[in-house]
Symmetry: C2
Subunit: 110 residues, 2 copies
DNA sequence: TCCATATTTCAACCATACTTGAATCGTTGA
DNA sequence: TCAACGATTCAAGTATGGTTGAAATATGGA
């Protein structure tokens, strides 16, 4: 993950519709979800959904796969992890206060 | 950290100039750095620097403090950690593949 | 072939964000 | 008060991004 790729991913996530789409796809897990299903879940029209899903796919955070009439989108967890790793290591320098919020318990909320 | 605040922070980080500013401020640590120094470090004009630093401050990721003629900016590591925690827990559902990239060693790059 | 479903693409419009250069504000020291 | 310094604000222009609705593409079934 380099800066250019990180900027693409951050830009993709800085939109409410796309952030909700990603959350929905994370919950969907390995099965993924069809474009129409995702759009319905986040309340966006077909063309809007297509636009935003294309942006997410271009950022590398999700991947499309055509299955019959549908296009199934799945989260690329490795890419998502790569973005987190870049932010924590390269941008935050692995600062303890940042790393603390990534601990499995997740109860040390500031 | 709620979705609105996360979107502000992600939006702030989705710009190359601001991302480099944050990295510079992380390296500066608790001492922080003056606006002019930050601008010089990332190669942006005074007005541009002021604009972008204001955006970072509005997002809560950095905090300004006037010291004599200068304005010292410092990273709010708790806010940064809050953003990471939100992304990992609320958006990524604490998925193992994501969490793996936050491990202290940072060698399990995908 | 014809029709229905699922998704994407396109053009037009609107809104927001970025850049630039000059002007302004606040502080320091003479 | 004046001049110099550091930072911000303002106005104007440019660029990018989002929304909408209609049209187009691709697949599946009769």
């Amino acid at each position: 993950m380099d800066e250019t790729q990180a900027l693409k991913a951050l830009s993709a996530l800085s939109d409410g519709t796309r952030l909700r789409m990603l959350r929905f796809l994370v919950q969907a897990g390995a099965d993924g979800a069809a474009a129409g299903e995702i759009g319905a879940a986040v309340g966006s029209s077909p063309s809007r959904s297509s636009f935003h899903l294309a942006a997410l796919a271009a950022s590398g955070l999700v991947r499309p796969e055509r299955v019959s009439r549908r296009v199934i989108y799945r989260v690329d967890f490795a890419a998502l992890g790569g973005l987190m790793g870049y932010l924590i290591e390269d941008c935050c320098g692995g600062h303890p206060a940042v790393r603390a919020c990534c601990a499995p318990t997740g109860t040390e909320k500031g």
